[in-house]
């Protein structure tokens, strides 16, 4: 693409990115305030970090869809830095911490400069998850009290966890109205946040959950202020205060303690967490990118370093890449870095125009948002998921978790690494394999000159200790090619590697390449290689549910007998060409199950598990789909119910194709596609009449096949029958049209 056409494309995409930046800023505002408060810094510090991040990283960064700002993971380290360095004086501690933040920015920049981004691979994935869970528990323990209206609870994580029952008790004992109001704002906000993802209404979802909480709680405060004339309904300690003069009251970072070992320790752990959180997020966002671009990690780290320095200078927190906000960004249709910039710009506008309203936000509401994020990080599901991978993984996870809570974050992760190593040595019953081969090269990659395939062979062992070597080679293979990874010379493959390899495999299939893993079958047979059998590999069903079928499954089986179709209840992670449908462009397909396939293999009905967003903003969905092979080549189009969301699609470049002679159809349906002329001639009168007279389905054509979906949930047997009948008539009509 040349310069002028890419500039033109940028202008065309601008409305989409401004819109997405706006939605993200609605989350970034409450989160920024909340994260700063949770780390005992002035609330504005979080907003400063988000603004510095958005402005600097969008210009200098190397990723495309990420949003940068204050991060969840850093709350705990910054909190302990402020308390530790301040020695009782929180504000002085904050000034010392600002110096630590600036220095960590410089370190981050150097990390990027010396291309040390790949060093993050050195952390075992289970230990990292244990660390994140510990951070989640830390946030949850502290904010739970604030959510109930108690700001004075001090102490470390364990103490605060132990005090939670006390706080609940004192709410029940102390039945004053102000108290109940504060704690009910907090509790109701929390309940709302948990229920938000259950409500699948697109209009409702236009405003992110944290903003709903903020708006609702501000209106409560305003109600008391204006209607009841009580401007101090809540204790001032439970309200946000912003400095009156933003520029004049800039804090000055204090480098006074710079050479003490305490300061250096805090700086190191801030940097460590910033690097880990950013890299994990960048990797996760790359997987969501509908345009399948690859981020330049080191360039992004350099930009984050500069942004952190700038932010620290203006009194802000560390700038990291944040996954929750980034995935909201992706879901709202952003497609380049300008969205990050606009998110920062909107924050500036909010702070300048709505400073007064922001000061009406009650802390319990913000604390509820943080409790929810903390819970998402530390959710018990995570432990169950890891336990499924293996008992030893659960052991590593819990070791890291407990060690991090009891000691500090850096000690915790180091102990996690040691635990992983011990587990590996124990499983191999010898450390010889690792000791002998750790530093030796173990990966061979070459382009086979006869076949044009990339062949990668891994020798000795492959674990978190040397995964970066394999990764460096795999990164050199264009994901549109055919890659074969051979583990037959490798005696040990760990969970971190299996997970990483699975990411590559999905990346290749998204880009139209092929990624094959061979040589692991040998390992599955041998008992000494339990890691190899854990991860689902493409094309394999990975857990067996066929032992007992549910009622719905039995009914599906009966239906298949009547239709003489083949029924397979098992989950299959091989989903063919589904990813090519526009519907799955911003979604992540997990696996399909309960599939019913016709004898001629031209219709396939299946339940599909897929997800939107990533990490803590991830929403797992399950819906029933019907895919049918088109009788002949059709134009590519999407036909959906017309609603408020579709007018936003109009904003983002996708246009509704309306038919003048069919006002009713045009009003009820949202039809879009590139080839407008083809679509207009394809939608003949009888086809339009057919759609008008039948129930509404989401229908998408990708030329050679059609995807039909009812509601965004699993369909009942009755609905499935209707869907099948609908499809049958549609195909009949299409076939008739051809002749």
């Amino acid at each position: 693409m040349n310069k002028t056409s890419s500039a033109k494309q940028f202008v065309v995409d601008l409305p989409k990115n401004i819109f997405s930046g706006f939605v993200v800023s609605l989350i970034a505002l409450p989160l920024g305030l909340g994260l700063a408060l949770a780390s005992e810094a002035p609330p504005i510090a979080g907003i400063v970090a988000a603004i510095a991040g958005g402005m600097v990283v969008s210009v200098l960064g190397g990723s495309h869809l990420t949003i940068t700002g204050p991060g969840n993971g850093l709350v705990i380290v910054i909190l302990s830095a402020i308390i530790g360095l301040g020695e009782g004086d929180l504000y002085q501690g904050y000034l010392f911490t600002l110096a630590a933040i600036i220095i960590s920015g410089i370190l981050l920049f150097l990390f990027g400069l010396f291309r040390l981004g790949s060093l993050s691979e050195f952390f075992p994935s289970t230990a990292l998850q244990g660390m994140l869970a510990a951070i989640g528990i830390g946030i949850l323990a502290k904010q739970f009290h604030v959510m109930l209206g108690f700001t004075g609870v001090k102490g470390n994580t364990i103490k605060q966890l132990a005090l939670i029952p006390d706080s609940i008790k004192s709410v029940l004992m102390n039945l004053s109205f102000e108290f109940l109001l504060a704690s009910s704002i907090g509790l109701l906000s929390l309940i709302f946040l948990f229920l938000y993802s259950r409500i699948r209404n697109p209009i409702f979802h236009l405003i992110p959950a944290p903003m709903w909480v903020v708006i609702a709680s501000i209106s409560v405060i305003y109600y008391f202020d204006v209607v009841r004339n009580n401007s101090q309904i809540l204790d001032p300690a439970l309200m946000i205060t912003l400095p009156k003069d933003l520029i004049g009251s800039l804090p000055r970072p204090d480098f006074g303690k710079m050479l003490t070992s305490e300061f250096i320790g805090h700086t190191m752990s801030i940097t460590l967490v910033a690097v880990i959180e950013s890299l994990l997020s960048i990797k996760a966002v790359d997987k969501l990118d509908p345009l399948k671009r690859r981020s330049n990690i080191n360039k992004d780290l350099r930009a984050l370093g500069i942004a952190t320095g700038v932010s620290g200078f203006f009194g802000g927190l560390n700038v990291v890449t944040v996954i929750a906000r980034s995935s909201v960004n992706v879901n709202n249709g952003a497609n380049n870095r300008s969205a990050n910039f606009f998110h920062a710009a909107f924050l500036v506008v909010f702070i300048l125009l709505f400073a007064e309203q922001i000061q009406k936000i009650p802390l319990p509401a913000l604390a509820a948002i943080l409790v929810y994020t903390g819970y998402k990080l530390a959710a018990p599901e995570n432990l169950f998921r890891i336990y499924k991978v293996g008992k030893e993984q659960a052991f590593i996870f819990l070791t890291t978790l407990v060690a991090t809570i009891i000691t500090s974050l850096t000690t915790g992760i180091i102990l996690g690494i040691i635990a992983t190593l011990i587990v590996h040595i124990f499983l191999n019953k010898s450390s010889l394999l690792f000791r002998q081969n750790w530093l030796k090269p173990n990966v061979l990659m070459y382009l086979e000159e006869e076949s044009g395939n990339y062949y990668v062979s891994v020798k000795n062992f492959c674990s978190f200790l040397n995964f970066f070597k394999l990764k460096a080679k795999l990164d050199e293979i264009p994901p549109t090619e055919h890659a074969i990874v051979d583990f037959s010379l490798c005696e040990f493959v760990d969970h971190t590697v299996m997970e990483g390899i699975n990411d590559y495999s999905q990346g290749f299939s998204r880009n139209g390449g092929v990624f094959e893993i061979i040589g692991l079958d040998v390992h599955e047979a041998g008992t000494e290689h339990p890691f190899a059998i854990r991860k689902n590999l493409p094309g394999k069903s990975f857990f067996n549910l066929s032992i007992s079928l549910t009622r719905r499954q039995r009914l599906l089986q009966e239906l298949s007998n009547v239709l003489k179709w083949n029924y397979l209840p098992d989950p299959v992670s091989n989903h063919g060409d589904l990813e090519k449908f526009i519907y799955f462009k911003r979604k992540w397909i997990n696996y399909s199950y309960n599939s019913l396939e016709s004898k001629e293999k031209n219709s396939l009905l299946f339940d599909l598990s897929y997800s939107e967003g990533a990490f803590i903003a991830k929403e797992d969905l399950k819906s029933t789909f019907l895919q049918i092979r088109a009788p002949y080549k059709m134009p590519v189009f999407v036909l959906d119910k017309e609603n408020l969301m579709s007018s936003f699609y109009g904003l983002s470049g996708l246009q509704d194709i309306d038919f003048k002679e069919h006002p009713d159809f045009s009003k009820r349906f949202f039809l879009s596609g590139e080839d407008k002329k083809g679509i207009r001639s394809f939608f003949t009168d009888d086809l339009i009449f057919f759609f008008e007279s039948h129930p509404l389905y989401y229908i998408e054509s990708k030329g050679d096949s059609l995807l039909i979906r009812g509601k965004e949930r699993l369909a009942s047997i009755q609905e499935i029958k209707q869907m099948l009948a609908f499809a049958e008539q549609l195909i009949k009509l299409l076939k008739g049209k051809k002749t």
Partner: protein
């Protein structure tokens, strides 16, 4: 199966001023040698080594010779960061491996025809650590003999930071023939 090279054997292999053949599976019955892997990197010794490997192939009746050109990663001079640098790196690699292939093919063309026409030979360029990749490759393709250049001037640091032939000696993937072409001059 792992092989251990004792200190005396190691010293002989390094210091000998003639060519050395290391057999990992000596046996009274002759095992047929089917496939020979030869290094083909850019070095004045390589020409002699390739010639020697064809002599050996004819003598042992080996059917196939793979000439492996190991190209150091630093020659690509592009680090893969994003899609654009990946594209540049891929193009540059293609160019480099084409160059290397022509160079090796030129060497073979200069050899007498009766020497080369009985053997089926192919080339394969590998981007990776010199000395290491060829050993791994020989193992992957299950070669019977690996023919390598002898190295000059091995110092103390070469043992500390293994490279070239040291990797092969450490692992002995197949029988190894180290051709010392300096001794003939």
């Amino acid at each position: 199966m792992k092989f251990y090279l004792g200190s005396i054997a190691r010293k002989i292999t390094r210091k000998a001023s003639c060519s050395v053949l290391l057999l990992i599976n000596p046996s009274v019955e002759r095992q047929p040698c089917q496939h020979i892997v030869v290094n083909g990197f850019d070095s004045p010794q390589t020409k002699k080594t390739i010639e020697a490997s064809f002599v050996v192939a004819n003598a042992l009746g080996a059917k196939k010779i793979s000439l492996v050109e190991e190209i150091s990663q630093s020659k690509v001079a592009v680090t893969v960061d994003d899609d654009r640098s990946l594209r540049r790196a891929t193009l540059r690699k293609e160019k480099l491996s084409r160059q290397e292939q022509t160079r090796v093919k030129d060497v073979i063309k200069k050899l007498p025809l009766e020497m080369t026409n009985k053997v089926n030979w192919t080339t394969q360029s590998i981007f990776g650590k010199r000395g290491y990749s060829i050993g791994h490759y020989a193992k992957v393709v299950r070669a019977d003999l690996l023919v390598m250049n002898a190295e000059e001037n091995l110092g103390f640091f070469d043992r500390l930071f293994p490279h070239d032939i040291e990797h092969i000696l450490a692992e002995l993937p197949t029988d190894v023939l180290i051709v010392n072409s300096n001794s003939h001059e």
